[in-house]
Amino acid sequence: MDLHAALSLGLPIGIGIAAIGSGIGLGLIGQGAMQAIGRQPEATGKIQLAMIIIAALAEALTIYAFVTMFLLQGKI
């Protein structure tokens, strides 16, 4: 297996794995936020803000994988 084949196989799989992790994380964040809002509807604004920040942090991991793929795409 040469470099090209390895990269062509590995890059999409890498993104997929990263997306699995981010997806689980986002699901947990959403679940927690929804529960918190359900328990304390009056704090919706604060909870949503925190949720968006943490969701962005979790989502960023997939984006890093995406950027890595983009950087290595030229070598395929």
Binding site: L49, A56, A60, Y64, F66
Partner: protein, 458 residues
Amino acid sequence: MGLEFLARVRRTSTWLGGVIALMAATYVSPMLGLAFAAGALWSLVNLQLLERLVVGITGPARGTADGVRRIGFAAIGMLLLFAAGGVLLMLLSPAALVAGFVLPLAVIVVKAGTQVLLGSRAWRGLVTHRWRAGIAALALATVTWFALGALTNAGGQPAGTPAGTTVSEQQHGAPTEAHGETAAEPEGEAHKEGKSEGFTNIIALVAGAFPHAAWARFLEHYEVLVFSLLVALVLLFVAFRASRDPQLVPSGLQNGVEMVVEALSDFIISILGPKNGPRFVPFLGTLFIYILSMNLFGLIPFMHSPTASLNVTVALALTVFVYVQFIGFKELGPLGWLDHMLGSPRDLTGWLLSPLMLPIHILGELAKPISLSCRLFGNIFGEDMLLVAFATLGVTMLPFKQLPFGVPMHAIFFPLALLGSVLQALVFTVLSSIYILLMLPHEHHDEHGHEGDAQHAH
């Protein structure tokens, strides 16, 4: 058929001429588009001068010195215009020039025709009846479909070839055919050309028109910079227009801008607290508006999102990084800043752990700009790529018909793109303000509950 009609004709012709010229420049050749634009512009100026001449001769100012002067100016303008027309005819392709010249006249004819048609009894009879109108629309669509197919087939290949052969033929003649196929897309999308995968933008067009000029190379090389400066100029213009003549009771543009500024100010103060918040509203609010505008700029046809390039996002993130460190130095002092970096040791355990905390804090600070810039870049770039992919799909999904347009498949992702743009601008701003918040002096007496919580979370 008054002056108001002429103004409407001018407006329609300007928009139509611009769109057609850009399309011609994208899909046929840049010089052709330029020639078309020049022809249309010439014709519009001609129309305007003629109107002035006629108004000057027959209008209320007739006979007065003012009227005579105006007629003189219009006449001199006409002479200059004809000279310019001669020069244009020598420089550019005459066919495209004539096509551009005819455009406003065609608009006049079509507008007059529709005015006659809309007033006629036959049209009213057709429109007022639901079924008749539906059938008429259907018949029109069918006729257009077949007429377009026949026209393009007559131009491209012999009509009546089965779908299978058409597809295989397209695959055979891949370089030329595929180019013609994408070239047929009307809205300036999915112009694949070697290195630049993405929607055609106006700078690429200009650079294509003048492939050897140094300034065009320069523009193409610094394309992202040009677009980000353009966004900044647009924002400057809007801000200037909104604040030029402030009213006590705002309306229109001033109202909208004030609403945005107020919402941003409230939002940032709710994060940073009422004591520290107002100081940072200008910086963070500008950041939000600028990033949001840059994200949305790519959705305008023939424009390009500057934030879809890593250079711009890294620049923004570095600005935030330097600003945050500056705030830390200013607010905490050099020793306080070092103390913050050591993890604020207050007892023996703290001091023992401080050699461990220092690299962790420094790495954490350095990771902030990287994560900020990569997040913004990845999201906006991914969005653009998604739109490009689906626009390409929309063009290539009807290969058997050889239509001069594609199905706008990417339109369903516009709401997603809008949402993503706003969200990423918001996240960038919120994270920047939280970095600032973490750098500000810790307030141990729990005056603002919200602020205290954020400090402990750190």
